[in-house]
């Protein structure tokens, strides 16, 4: 990536930050995770798209852009699954930058993968002191494993967050399928064991203090961007100085010869007057 390109990215980032309206009272909930983690399905359930999908789901890569759905209380945002390709990763990161609440979705095939930890680290940093509260781990498809296994995975994930990343988020093991079946078949038991309602309640509780996280995230993003701008400006300054040095160097011999030339003229002058 060349400097000009990286500077245009930086400018784009700054424009994003500068255009960010932190007075907006509705929290933005961004769903984030690896490809096929169950993000879109979770969003469909959270936005009450039980029978008809709004966020497209499939076993293959379906989401390649950021898609929003606004309810009365929240703005829900779907992001492409990370680790599919560079553009998707960038898009997912830019989505995360807009988030007030992150639902980090992990499907229960085991503990957090390295790439998930790496991304979590970045996101956590951008949430500052509010990371514990506003980053929520979601163990999706909990119906695909036994309850004991789900419990083990949940513990392991939280231990990873604590030991590796130094934060203690909440973790919800949910089942979108149970929730969907519960709603369509009107079975409250299924809805209850889906644990989705607990997640919804928790989201609602977070609405109260949303302006603090908006401001905190904005401040962190601004400070981070200032650092990057300073670095970029320094790099440009160094390049400028190097070019100036090259030009100066190129005329060094000419200047030396001109000094000698002036002396020669001066000597002729002195000889005449002498």
């Amino acid at each position: 990536m060349n400097k000009t390109h990286s500077n245009s990215e930086l400018i784009k980032k700054a424009e994003g930050i500068l255009g960010n309206d932190i007075t907006e009272q509705k929290p933005t909930v961004v769903v984030w995770g690896l490809m096929n983690a169950g993000k879109s399905h979770l969003l469909n359930m959270l936005t009450n798209h039980i029978e008809t999908e709004y966020f497209r789901t499939n076993d293959i890569r379906e989401t390649s852009e950021i898609k929003n759905f606004e309810t009365e209380e929240f703005i829900f945002m779907d992001t492409p699954g990370v680790d599919a390709n560079y553009n998707d990763d960038q898009l997912a990161m830019s989505g995360a930058e807009k988030a007030d609440i992150i639902l980090f979705v992990h499907q229960p095939q085991g503990e957090l993968e390295k790439i998930e930890i790496d991304y979590l680290r970045k996101i956590k940093k951008s949430f500052g002191q509010y990371a514990d509260k506003y980053i929520i781990m979601v163990l999706s498809k909990s119906d695909t494993e036994s309850a004991d296994n789900i419990e083990l995975i949940k513990k392991r994930i939280l231990a990873q967050c604590h030991e590796t990343l130094g934060f203690t988020p909440r973790c919800y093991a949910i089942s979108g399928s149970r929730f969907q079946a519960g709603v369509t078949q009107n079975q409250s038991g299924l809805i209850r064991v889906s644990h989705l309602t607990e997640l919804i309640k928790h989201l609602e509780s977070l609405k109260i203090d949303i302006s603090s996280i908006k401001r905190e995230r904005q401040l962190i993003a601004v400070k981070e961007a200032i650092k990057e701008f300073m670095q970029a400006e320094r790099a440009l300054q160094e390049k400028k100085m190097e070019t100036e040095r090259n030009i100066r160097e190129a005329f060094k011999t000419f200047n030396r010869t001109m000094t000698e030339f002036r002396h020669w003229m001066q000597n002729n002058n002195t000889n005449l007057k002498g």
């Binding site: 500068l18 002191q129 603090s212 100036e244």
Partner: protein
């Protein structure tokens, strides 16, 4: 009746007086011709010296011109990578030796560094002064080479980029200041 001895003395006196006057005339005529001779000699000496001086000056001028012309090639070569120097005519060296001293005689309407807008941000003062002086000593057309244009373009581009970054940086600093002024509630 006058005394004979007195008459004799008077005659002798007049004779002596005449002789003295005659002697003076002779000596004066002799001095005058010697001055003339001296003046002529002096004049001749002066003319000889002047001639020698002129010859010497002519020699010095010739040597000066030769050296100046010889150096023109050195300058052309030295500048070639960054500035193309096209001399006008076969004797472009325009500095002259006068009795009063050396004079750079080529008047330049607009110096190369000014017409190409090569300010302090591109060339340092020493180089700009040297290029100006070079133009007053040599009758030549100076032009920037492709390489020089490229370097200047890079410099201008970097300056523009820096200004753009600075603009955003300042806006971010302002927001940071505003956000920091309001303590966050927990």
């Amino acid at each position: 009746m006058a005394l004979p001895w007195l008459i004799g003395a008077a005659v002798l006196g007049v004779g002596a007086l005449i002789a003295a006057v005659a002697n003076d005339d002779e000596s004066s005529s002799h001095d005058s011709s010697s001055d003339e001779e001296r003046r002529r000699r002096k004049q001749a000496e002066h003319e000889r010296r002047e001639r020698e001086k002129e010859e010497e000056m002519a020699f010095l001028r010739m040597a000066f011109n030769q050296e100046g012309s010889k150096r023109s090639h050195d300058f052309q070569k030295l500048l070639s990578e960054w500035i193309t120097v096209n001399y006008r005519g076969t004797s472009p060296f325009r500095a002259v030796l006068l009795n009063t001293g050396v004079q750079a005689r080529h008047s330049v309407d607009r110096h190369f560094v000014d017409s190409c807008e090569l300010g302090d941000d591109v060339l340092n003062t020493e180089t700009r002064e040297n290029l100006n002086f070079f133009e007053t000593c040599y009758e030549a057309d100076l032009a920037m080479t492709e390489r020089f244009y490229k370097a200047v373009d890079i410099l201008m581009d970097l300056q523009e980029q820096k200004a753009v970054l600075r603009h955003y940086h300042e806006q971010l600093e302002l927001i940071s200041y505003q956000l920091s002024r309001h303590p966050l509630s927990h």
